[in-house]
């Protein structure tokens, strides 16, 4: 077992806080660092999550058995569960992932497995919500640390199971320490191997650990080593990261470009070893039959199904050595535009040297630049029974999607102390503070009862704008953070309000909600009916416009002054800048959102 770098109690405390959704920002960063740096912390994490999952699983199974009157434990015999139609939401995914996603339109039989979801167990936001999380943390710490001690003290012999464990990594008593040697810096049209023992990287910019294997069926993937060497893998290809300066190419093609000088360098590109002064050895690629060592250059290597290796030098020079069961043998130095082939001849491996051939054209020497995105327009017309992939509800289920509109169901009248029932439909993307766009919403509103009377009932609002789309718990009608056009249906006024987490509460002064930035529609200017709102952003500047009595073609009747967005709402960032519409207090107000559209004015900035 690895030596712990951090206190197990602290790790357990942080893990428990994470499970309870109570992790403070500072603690989150601390946990992240511990998990990255300390194999012991990672082990603890894995054990902790396994135990959580195992205990929950058993608990759910027992509860289901009791609920159906079936006294048997376990999953067998559990009743079939009806899954909601369209439960699997389609998202624009890379092509290699799309095949994994079922078509929600395809009728499916009831699956014979139980559900852990809210179908049967309406769960709070956090399952492990406890009155005192510290207590639960201590309990979990006891469990996990106990388990850890067991494996410290006892050598475990793997059992023979009917289902064998995945063979992706060989069991070992000593937990391998995770060492990162670089990062994935590009992927184009990658399709991964179907081999169940191979799991693709978690993202297109994942860190690359020592020992990681990549199996591409097609496409391109670029790895940039901390040393500065870049390797482009061309599928079909199987490549294993063997060291900080190289790897094993079992099959396929790669191009390597090594630009850094062979001097002592800092691992500046590694976030994990910022003070490292690693002297990187010569970059090399090993194959079943050869070892190609870079001498300051750019080269390509190709390995076929029987291990024959071809090397091509585009710039500089490389050394090619024969690698066989007898060890390393004959070697040659190749210069620019030279090639070598290591092949079997009379039961020996030989190097055949020659000039670059037409085969060199098959090597990809640079990752293709992604095509610039064309302006996109997203339109939601509420034609289905659920929202499309660009929008979501907050809270979920607040609006009923039917008959071409999103409608807020009539709610119970509020108590004098009650808060308005706020809800939003917001974009899934949350980085609109960095984009230029036109956002429009068409809606129909009517009041079926008395308008707002201060002190008696709550006012009726429609919201439209840019923000987090989360009802502000401290202020009864706006988002927690954002710039929102408030339309008060009771008096026909609309104004732009600035919302932030410190917004005041208990406003009895009607009309002074949030920090008012500017009035757009004066008192009495907007009657119940069909309207279309527009929000235009170009650079830092945003403007709101209102078409009262919308009849299909937008003709603004009211336009706000230009507003400097960063100045007005400095807390907006790429994580909380959604486009949103919403409602506040629908006791006698009926609102139907009929269309939402987002038109990008120019491509978003690339990373």
């Amino acid at each position: 077992m690895t030596e712990p770098q951090h206190n197990s109690d602290e790790i357990c405390r942080l893990l428990w806080a994470m499970r309870e959704d109570e992790l403070a920002p500072g603690d989150a960063e601390r946990l992240r660092s511990m998990l990255l740096e300390d194999p012991h912390a990672r082990e603890l994490y894995v054990y902790y999550m396994f135990l959580s999952g195992s205990l929950e699983w058993d608990s759910s199974a027992r509860a289901k058995g009791r609920g159906t009157g079936d006294g048997r434990r376990g999953m067998a015999g559990s009743p079939a569960i009806d899954l909601p139609v369209g439960a699997a939401v389609e998202l624009p995914l890379p092509s290699d992932l799309k095949s994994q996603i079922p078509d929600p339109r395809t009728p499916i039989p009831d699956p014979p497995f139980p559900s852990l979801s809210t179908t049967h167990y309406p769960l709070p936001t956090s399952y492990f919500s406890v009155g005192s999380w510290a207590f639960s943390c201590m309990v979990s710490a006891v469990i996990v640390c106990v388990m850890l001690l067991v494996f410290w003290a006892i050598k475990v012999t793997p059992r023979q199971h009917i289902a064998e464990a995945p063979a992706q990594s060989a069991p070992s008593e000593a937990m391998p320490e995770m060492v990162f040697v670089g990062r994935i810096t590009g992927m184009v049209d990658v399709k991964w191997s179907d081999d169940p023992r191979f799991l693709p990287p978690l993202s297109s910019r994942a860190y690359v650990p020592l020992g990681r294997k990549y199996e591409l069926v097609s496409g391109l993937m670029e790895i940039t080593y901390d040393s500065g060497a870049k390797v482009i893998l061309q599928g079909p290809c199987t490549y294993e990261v063997e060291s900080t300066a190289g790897g094993y190419l079992a099959l396929g093609k790669l191009t390597a470009k090594v630009e850094k000088e062979r001097s002592e360098v800092r691992g500046q590109k590694s976030d994990h070893y910022p003070l490292s002064t690693i002297h990187y050895p010569l970059f090399s690629v090993r194959t079943p039959t050869a070892l190609i060592t870079d001498l300051g250059t750019e080269f390509g290597v190709e390995v076929d199904e029987v291990g024959v290796t071809e090397s091509h030098v585009f710039r500089g020079s490389v050394k090619v050595e024969v690698v066989s069961d007898e060890g390393r043998g004959h070697e040659v130095i190749l210069g620019e535009n030279e090639s070598a082939r290591v092949e079997r001849a009379e039961d020996r491996l030989v190097i055949v040297r020659g000039a670059a051939s037409e085969k060199t054209a098959r090597f990809i020497r640079a990752m293709p630049r992604p095509k610039p995105a064309v302006p996109v327009r997203i339109v939601e017309t509420f034609d289905g029974v659920e929202l499309g992939t660009a929008f979501e509800q907050m809270p979920p289920g607040r609006y009923a999607i039917r008959q071409g509109a999103a409608e807020h169901p009539r709610q119970e009248p509020l108590t004098p102390q009650g808060r308005q029932s706020r809800g939003y439909i917001r974009t899934v993307a949350a980085d609109f503070c960095d984009r230029d766009f036109v956002f429009e919403a068409t809606f129909h509103v009517r009041l079926d009862g008395p308008a707002h009377v201060p002190g008696s009932n709550a006012p009726h609002h429609i919201f439209f704008g840019l923000g987090d789309g989360v009802p502000n718990a401290n202020c009864w009608d706006i988002v927690t953070c954002g710039l929102v056009l408030n339309f008060c249906v009771d008096n026909g006024q609309a104004w732009v309000g600035r919302c932030d987490p410190e917004s005041d509460l208990n406003r009895e002064v009607f009309g002074n909600l949030g920090g008012t930035v500017t009035e757009v529609v004066p008192l009495g200017g907007l009657s119940p009916g069909r309207h279309r709102f527009r929000l235009t952003k170009t650079g830092r500047c945003v403007k709101f416009a209102v078409d009262a009595d919308f009849n299909g073609e937008f003709q603004p009747d009211f336009i706000s002054r230009p507003i400097d967005l960063p100045t007005a709402v400095p807390l907006l960032d790429a994580t909380n800048s959604r486009l949103l519409v919403g409602t506040g207090n629908c006791d006698v107000m009926t609102v139907r959102f009929e269309e939402l559209s987002v038109t990008y004015l120019k491509t978003p900035k690339e990373e």
């Binding site: 994470m18 608990s59 027992r62 079922p102 497995f113 852990l116 492990f128 012999t157 650990p209």
Partner: protein, 174 residues
């Protein structure tokens, strides 16, 4: 899908569902999200069971499907900050897959030891880990203070530890 295939699926799935869920939970720490990913994984496994090669490694195949579902989940959440970023998850992922063999033994020992608990102790443990249960709710149900519940659970876990240690030692000697 034939009845026979359905039976095969149930047999294989019930054996490995625990690992699949635990694997997802490791990469999707939020329990509610993990359950959703698990549901989607289970559905896909059911739908694509016809593509599974009989007698091959169901767990590995299922974990792979779960892995893609986790990628899908992370793609959906890319605009929201994720607690565990790509680097951390890559590190955890490597540790998790390397420990699969040990988890089998751990679970076996845990199950055996739990069955050896007294009825009262087992009921207490089950109560605490019931859906929607908290230490406070358990204390309220039993009319006891949360602190006393904690001490009881602490003792039960110590009993479990001793038992698991003995079971693992016995397994090594076999």
């Amino acid at each position: 899908m034939t009845d026979s295939m359905g039976n095969d699926f149930v047999l294989l799935f019930t054996k490995d569902a625990r690992w699949i869920f635990s694997y997802i939970l490791m990469l999707v720490p939020n329990k509610v999200d993990a359950e959703e990913v698990f549901q989607e994984t289970s559905l896909t496994l059911w739908q694509k069971f016809g593509e599974f090669v009989p007698d091959s490694n169901f767990r590995a195949w299922a974990i792979k499907v779960a892995h893609y579902k986790v990628l899908h989940y992370r793609a959906k959440r890319k605009s929201n900050p994720l607690l565990l970023d790509d680097a951390v998850l890559e590190a955890i992922h490597g540790t998790a897959t390397a420990m699969t063999d040990r988890l089998d033994d751990l679970h076996w020992a845990l199950e055996k030891c739990r069955s050896k608990l007294s009825d009262d102790d087992r009921n207490m443990l089950d109560r605490r880990y019931e859906p929607n249960a908290t230490t406070k709710t358990v204390a309220d149900e039993l009319g006891r203070s949360p602190r006393s519940i904690y001490r009881t659970l602490d003792r039960i876990h110590q009993v479990l530890y001793e038992c698991i240690r003995r079971e693992m030692s016995a397994e090594v000697r076999r």
